[in-house]
Symmetry: C2
Subunit: 111 residues, 2 copies
DNA sequence: CTTGATATATATCATATATCGTATTTGACA
DNA sequence: TGTCAAATACGATATATGATATATATCAAG
């Protein structure tokens, strides 16, 4: 019943995709994704950029790690995180494009 | 500390954007958005396309309506919904592009 | 090798928020 | 009134959140 093929596929993957969105549906985790979009960052750096307790940040990173959104790399005392997969990067880019400064509210013109 | 200007803006709007994502972070609501991406649809049509009880669908639509994601139009007995704003459409498109059939898992090449 | 310091992770718990099933209600119309 | 479409109300259960405490890992002194 859905016209475009990508749509069907998205529906088939709705569970998976909604799971990803659930992880991004929290202010701090979204900010984590945004920060990492610019490249690798240590937990300390993220902690500086993002509000909230360190333990919560660590837990958010753990959840994102468990779901395969980010990967961690330890270097001496610090742990560096980066985005694990291009798809997340593309989603973040799309959000930036949609909600960025020049994204005018542009109400949908009824066809 | 963030490089690109859209990024800063997304950070500023993290609360708002994460709220939008929260609405899409549920399988059925994501499917609603996907269906409506193809154009207006009645509640009955959505009910046929999406699993779950009618009351749940109606409640999901209500939430999306309250948050301004969709708008409703009544025509005799039926109520037709459509996406309220292009930004949501663009996000859905991006999800399709990222998770569609030709979206290969393409692991992020570490720079 | 123990001690201390720094960075990160995990555990726990109270509270908030989300979800789902079921029942009831409202709106439009014949 | 009866019926179909959609919305709302309610309550039980689940999941998320934030605060706080504790644990682990790595390194540097001493």
């Amino acid at each position: 019943m859905t016209a475009r093929p990508e749509m069907q596929d998205l529906e088939a993957r709705a569970e998976e995709v909604s799971g990803l969105l659930k992880l991004l549906s929290h202010k701090n985790r979204l900010l984590i994704a945004c920060e990492l979009r610019d490249g690798e960052a240590s937990v300390s750096a993220l902690e500086a950029a993002i509000s909230g307790a360190q333990s919560n940040l660590s837990r958010d990173l753990a959840r994102m790690r468990e779901e395969g959104l980010v990967v961690a790399r330890r270097q001496s005392k610090s742990v560096y995180y980066r985005l694990a997969d291009d798809r997340l990067a593309r989603v973040v880019d799309a959000l930036c494009a949609a909600f960025g400064p020049e994204a005018k509210q542009k109400k949908r013109s009824r066809k």
